[in-house]
Symmetry: C2
Subunit: 457 residues, 2 copies
Amino acid sequence: MTIETALEELSSLLGQRLSRSKSDLEQHGASESHFPLTPPDAVAYPESTEEVSEIVKICARNGCPVVGWGAGTSLEGQAQAFQGGISVDFRNMNKVLRVGAEDMDVSVQPGITREALNTELRATGLFFPVDPGANASIGGMASTRASGTTAVRYGTMRDNVLGLEVVLADGRIIRTGTRARKSSAGYDLTGLFVGAEGTLGLITELTLRLQGQPEAVTAAVCAFDKLDDAVQAVIATIQMGIPMARIEFVDEATAAAFNGYSGSDMPLCPHLMVEFHGSEAGVQEQAEIFGEIVADHGGKGFEWATKPEDRTALWKMRHHAHWAVLASKPGAKALVTDICVPISRLADAVNETRADIEASPITGPILGHVGDGNFHAILLFDDENPAEVQAVEDLSHRMVERSLAMGGTATGEHGIGVGKKKYMDAEHGAAWDVMGDVKQALDPQNIMNPGKILRGN
Amino acid sequence: MTIETALEELSSLLGQRLSRSKSDLEQHGASESHFPLTPPDAVAYPESTEEVSEIVKICARNGCPVVGWGAGTSLEGQAQAFQGGISVDFRNMNKVLRVGAEDMDVSVQPGITREALNTELRATGLFFPVDPGANASIGGMASTRASGTTAVRYGTMRDNVLGLEVVLADGRIIRTGTRARKSSAGYDLTGLFVGAEGTLGLITELTLRLQGQPEAVTAAVCAFDKLDDAVQAVIATIQMGIPMARIEFVDEATAAAFNGYSGSDMPLCPHLMVEFHGSEAGVQEQAEIFGEIVADHGGKGFEWATKPEDRTALWKMRHHAHWAVLASKPGAKALVTDICVPISRLADAVNETRADIEASPITGPILGHVGDGNFHAILLFDDENPAEVQAVEDLSHRMVERSLAMGGTATGEHGIGVGKKKYMDAEHGAAWDVMGDVKQALDPQNIMNPGKILRGN
Ligand SMILES: Cc1cc2nc3c(=O)[nH]c(=O)nc-3n(C[C@H](O)[C@H](O)[C@H](O)COP(=O)(O)OP(=O)(O)OC[C@H]3O[C@@H](n4cnc5c(N)ncnc54)[C@H](O)[C@@H]3O)c2cc1C
Ligand SMILES: Cc1cc2nc3c(=O)[nH]c(=O)nc-3n(C[C@H](O)[C@H](O)[C@H](O)COP(=O)(O)OP(=O)(O)OC[C@H]3O[C@@H](n4cnc5c(N)ncnc54)[C@H](O)[C@@H]3O)c2cc1C
């Protein structure tokens, strides 16, 4: 019962599809975040649910950690094998299995990326709305309970996964949910696996809700003198009940990074980027009311992008924000902190964070999905400068403390992994132990992504 | 360690608020459904979370079952104490604790009813949308994962509970969720307790999302010659992406029952009842498109109710459907079966069910929240006539089998309780065992509402 035995058995199961090459191990030992390299012992590339089940059975017999790998874009070290073991890379399980055009749903394998899925759906008039800034895999997105620019209208992964196929820690294969839109038939296991970061099982299939392509779409950017005005405009828009499809905030520093990276010429001040979906008349009406709200809050320089290519350019710029900010300080590392507060506290949270960053030696643009009360700071630092490392850690720590004190959460969408475990106690108290009880019940050997989310595992 | 010891300890804790009166026991031993009377050993009326915790601790020490009681309107025997023990009635814990007008949320105690909550919210311009046909308690609604006429627009209890306070099986008090709109901070415990029918703990506080009262509302009823046409019109409306706030189907037999009970004069044929929420222009536009779809499907006799009192009368009639149907056959009992299928199978499911009922000796109006693919048959029978009892059981059984065969669920909203446990295996297979593992982890003594939902408990 050792990892070596597991590797031998896995190798005879998978042949070439169990890799121990240095480049494979290093690629799966790193992530988009600031954690040290931690290569797994091997990388498995399964091609079917049955193979995943066999992999997990072998690992269970040998007490070998099993860590799912989608696109490796998670930001809290979730996909890294800190305790060694097998990285299960789903890249070969990336098919669309069924499109239910009438039911507006789709079944997919976990390895498909959100962009590939939407490309495949294009001809159907339907789309999958959840859009994190990276081209993540659907299995990874479900596992971190991801969201993105459209959550304000279409919800997060929690709202858009109808059902799952999961391989449990003992290799059993289960299905959760049905294709019905709602159900009261027992515990919501779908909801339990969504956001579990692979600590309760590996997802091998997902059934997702789709949305119809709206008849009309319009998007705009507008500028504000003060950050506070932009945030107040968001709050007013939500309270008016205007069904925004997207509403994103970027601060002055982010606008500067966009200009440098995308060749835009945004004025150096806070902005809102907004999009409306609906009928021609509906979109028109929403845009007008929004225009009035923005004017009331001192917004200006309103530019509507009604042409598809202008909108694509706009959202591409937004989705590339991370890279734009990184490029603004060559050589720097980024610690991205993600918090989410009740909307009534959003202005306070953003303002206090801005002031805190300004009082520090750190450059840290702020941007976010403010329609949900969710925003990020991309804290840039030199990882060889201990003072900067300390400063970004302190800033990030105070952001989370601020969020919790305001009734918010330590993470709106990036998840816990190893990076935010230290806040679980403050956020959940005894409920954290209940998570541990569930983990213990479903994975008593603690082989599924050990070290993540749970207390002392 | 007996129930008697528990009763003594509870009595010294609660005094007069532990009742063993015959009328109290009988009231808490019956339900709105067709199950036999099963009085609990006593009824407790706690007034605080701490008291609930003490009650559960006493019951845990003495191995005494604990069954939550909201309004007792659940239809699958969920609130009945089939194994005896204590019924914990939340009627005294019925306060609104906090209204977050800016955040559009509210914190309430579990015993408040949905009508009382909306009365309290009236002055705020906000409302809580989930509206089962009965005036259920919010704690009971969360526990059955209830929904109602507005789920097509605003979702079910799954979508509208942001956080909970729960007393666990050992008396520990936990909080799940925060006031942030979304979170990726660990397992979704809120979602685990919602729909658990009190088998994992007692809910002592809920934070709910609220909705803004729409600027404009309009509602209508329209008639169809054929059931199939009405259902096809629903499917077409959904696929057009029209954001209906409500879309309800009632068949000819239900229309007849309405006429008898509410003094309406609906033609004896299938109907749709629909409502739109939005801006003046938006509602107008939606109503027009819907009118065209209905005309395309042979709908007629369109009557718009734009005056609030006409709309209130319309939805009151719909909410009283259960009583109207019962009144149509004095002395009859009702077995209400609730299934939910993918929308593409809705017409088949309704048609086959209608034909099945017609081929039987049973009267069974069909109606439902068809925008979700969810419908009910209210099967009327004489409980002293074994042939009728058998016939309704067979009809109900075939409805569920049909739903599962179509990719649907055994229950869209009424839940499992004891009535639908027999379908859990067919619907969930090995996932049912996983629910059992979670139950075992959180309630190893099986004192929380034993006998419900789970395999052989
Ligand atoms: C530039 C950039 C922008 C981003 N913007 C956003 C954003 O807007 N919103 C947001 O939510 N996130 C954002 N993220 C974070 C990241 O994209 C998300 O966390 C995403 O959901 C990760 O998906 P992935 O496929 O890369 O998963 P991975 O990083 O590969 O894995 C994530 C977790 O899921 C587990 N896992 C993966 N596949 C499976 C499976 N099939 N079964 C079980 N467990 C599995 C892994 O073990 C790991 O715990 C951003 C990241 C970057 C780099
Ligand atoms: C006429 C009629 C129409 C109906 N229409 C609908 C409909 O449209 N949609 C729908 O979804 N349902 C409908 N129902 C069913 C019923 O109203 C719902 O199931 C409702 O959610 C039950 O709420 P309650 O307060 O009556 O709960 P109860 O019946 O008292 O309890 C339900 C379950 O919740 C548990 N429970 C209660 N309170 C708590 C608590 N605080 N903590 C933990 N567990 C608790 C109980 O133990 C039980 O298991 C209808 C019922 C009737 C009679």
